[in-house]
């Protein structure tokens, strides 16, 4: 079942075309991630979908409901956790949740939410003394309080330490188990790869690709990067490089001191030949690795931009 359908969305600010033509559909219960370089139009796209910004063209439909006619109904349907730390600092987490709960007809229980975002023991502290991770969890709790069908989590883990990030991941996955649909944006590729059912890469106001993370990675070239370090030093590495250069299975090589990198589409075959050569010479190899392709490579190959966070 499609819960959100976006078609041919467009938006310009003056002469800048922030969003050129964006269309996608989000299915019930999935975690749908939008990634893109800074200035790609992610935020504008989200703000249009959240009803904060009026699109210049295109349509947004929540199962038939549109912002023009059914704004009130849509606001009850969605829960938004924005980037900024938009909450009442002088209130406690419990008071913040109680306030937001009063906006909805059938809110979730405050106790339940506190438990779910792991803030029960901090519920009487003022928000301003909470840590970044705790505030971020409260922000997710506030997005959930209205028991929404669709949740928008905008960079929920930015600036958090690894432990706090993992806590948020657990919450996001728990939401999925509850059957919620989540639309996520993130700066972290590993996060997108781990959490998302589908990833949508946006660049220059357009969708460049959209699919499951594994499918996106599989679609990349089959070329793999192999690295090895020689115990016997530079000369061994140098000879190994010239041997590798002559192999048909090896596409190209690169050497820095005793570290050798080579690229191949058939890593087993290339390594087999290379290991035969080094055994004959009696050289020892310290480390061998085959680098897996990641979503980051997908991102770079589609946008031509280095990922930065």
């Amino acid at each position: 079942m499609t819960v959100l359908e976006v078609q041919n969305l467009r938006k310009s600010y003056g002469s800048v075309q922030a969003v050129k033509d964006i269309s996608f559909a989000v299915e019930a219960g999935e975690i749908f991630t939008i990634i893109g370089p800074n200035g790609a139009g992610k935020t504008t796209t989200l703000e249009m979908i959240e009803g904060l910004v009026q699109p210049d063209g295109g349509s947004i439909s929540y199962g038939g409901l549109s912002w023009d006619k059914d704004a009130e109904a849509i606001r009850k349907l969605i829960g938004v956790q924005p980037q900024a730390e938009a909450m009442f600092d002088l209130l406690t987490p419990q008071e913040n949740l109680e306030l937001f709960a009063s906006f909805y007809e059938k809110p979730m229980s405050v106790i339940e939410i506190l438990d779910m975002v792991n803030l029960t023991e901090h519920r009487h502290k003022k928000v301003k003394v909470l840590s970044g991770g705790q505030r971020q969890r409260l922000a997710i709790g506030l997005a959930m309080i209205g028991d929404p069908q669709v949740l928008f989590l905008d960079e929920p883990t930015t600036g958090l330490d690894p432990q706090a990030r993992r806590n948020i991941w657990d919450i996001v996955l728990a939401l999925k188990e509850m059957g919620k649909t989540t639309i996520l944006t993130t700066h972290y590729m590993d996060e997108a790869e781990k959490l998302s059912d589908r990833v949508c890469i946006v660049d220059a106001g357009e969708i460049v690709t959209l699919d499951a993370p594994e499918a996106l990675i599989g679609r990349l070239t089959k070329e793999r990067e192999v690295r090895m370090t020689f115990v016997n030093g530079d000369i061994a590495a140098e000879e190994a490089e010239s041997f590798a250069g002559a192999q048909s299975s090896i596409l190209r090589t690169e050497r820095i001191g005793k570290d050798l990198k080579l690229w191949t589409e058939r890593p087993e075959e290339a390594l087999h030949a290379l290991f035969g050569f080094t055994r004959d010479r009696g050289w020892r190899i310290d480390q061998v690795s085959i680098r897996e392709m990641s979503l980051e490579d997908v991102f770079i190959s589609y946008t031509g931009k280095e990922w930065r966070d």
Partner: protein, 371 residues
């Protein structure tokens, strides 16, 4: 029904935020109380009643001087050192020795209508001299009205002077000034949380929920009005019990001026918040506005004591009218029937309406172009 639920929890939120904000306690409670206590201690000099020792000077006695003296003697602030008029030379001696604050020289001839005043040069600018000048001016104006022709009006006007000045103590004057100032500051400074909420994206956040923003603003306003009522009560208690101020409250005038005044200053604060990007910027603007008004609106001293060229500035400031309206409602117990009172209310309404509209316009324009 759900609107009521929203309103209740929004109001509670505003109450909690206000009570937990240290700035509110400092600027809303501590600062006005300290300021009032300091001014009271400096200027009220510990004496209960504001009395000015004066003497009348008459070079020639005729019917006019007798009548004038009788009228002047009805002004209770004046303490007459001699029952009968004295000679000019003697009076000058008294002024020089600071035995009296001023000598009032009555007209010497029957047709002459000009009064003059002998003051000690050293004291020319002090508040006592100012008070004498103010009182005499009032008297002269009244007398001029009388001269224009209406006998009954004359006696009525003299009556009103005495009714007002019966309690003309600096304590009353300052207390009401401080109440007006603290309510005005509450409005000018109070909107800082709007800037903060906008900066943090909280307003945007609320707009993404089914929350009714109108109710949010209304509950905020209710909280602010209640806080201002609390300020009035607290400052009044300190003024009355700590410094012997006397209040004659006319509830209708007080309510009217309080409501319009508080709304006007909140609207001005709202206007400031609409174009301030940071809380620092907002506080800067609010401080400038507050200091300008504090000293130019007759909070501490009557406007009449200011240089003439500054007085038009005072007449444009909203605090001037708020202070004077509040005095009408709390000290003079007159007001809501007088034209001056309603003129003041009108000025406040104008200030409030214009700044509120400008503020709303700026808020709207900004949210449209927001990225």
């Amino acid at each position: 029904m759900s609107a009521l639920k929203q309103f209740r929890s929004m109001f509670l939120t505003h109450v909690k935020m206000t009570l937990r904000e240290k700035q509110v306690w400092f600027w809303g409670i501590f600062f006005p109380v300290i300021l009032m206590v300091i001014f009271m201690l400096i200027f009220s000099g510990g004496s209960d009643d504001f009395k000015v020792k004066v003497a009348a000077v008459a070079d020639a006695s005729h019917e006019g001087t007798g009548m004038m003296l009788a009228q002047l003697k009805q002004i209770p602030v004046f303490e007459w050192i001699e029952e009968e008029p004295v000679t000019r030379a003697y009076a000058e001696e008294l002024v020089k020795d600071k035995e009296i604050a001023a000598a009032i020289v009555l007209p010497s001839a029957a047709g002459d209508t000009s009064l003059s005043l002998i003051l000690n040069k050293e004291d020319e600018q002090n508040s006592t001299s100012m008070a004498v000048i103010g009182l005499l001016n009032e008297y002269v104006q009244t007398a001029n009205l009388m001269a224009a022709g209406a006998e009954p009006v004359f006696s009525l006007d003299v009556e009103s002077i005495s009714a007002g000045s019966d309690d003309l103590k600096y304590q009353d004057f300052l207390l009401t000034g401080m109440i007006a100032l603290s309510i005005a500051q509450g409005g000018l400074f109070g909107m800082v949380d709007m800037v903060e909420m906008r900066r943090k994206g909280l307003i945007k956040r609320l707009r993404m929920t089914p929350a009714r923003m109108g109710l949010f603003g209304l509950s905020d306003m209710l909280m602010r009005l209640l806080f201002a009522v609390f300020q009035i009560i607290l400052l009044s208690l300190i003024g009355v019990y700590g410094f012997g101020a006397t209040l004659h409250i006319d509830l209708i005038s007080l309510l009217i001026i309080f409501l319009f005044g508080a709304l006007a200053f909140n609207a001005i604060g709202y206007f400031f918040s609409s174009f301030s990007k940071t809380t620092e910027a907002y506080m800067g603007i609010a401080n400038i506005a507050s200091f300008l008004m504090m000293f130019l609106s007759g909070v501490f001293f009557p406007i009449e004591t200011m240089p003439g060229w500054l007085q038009p500035v005072s007449k444009a400031l909203p605090l001037t009218y708020f202070v004077s309206g509040l005095r009408d409602g709390m000290v003079y117990a007159t007001g809501w029937l007088s034209g001056a009172f309603w003129f003041g209310v009108g000025v406040l309404v104008l200030w409030g309406a214009v700044t509120f509209l400008l503020g709303s316009l700026l808020y709207r324009n900004r949210s449209l172009t927001a990225r």
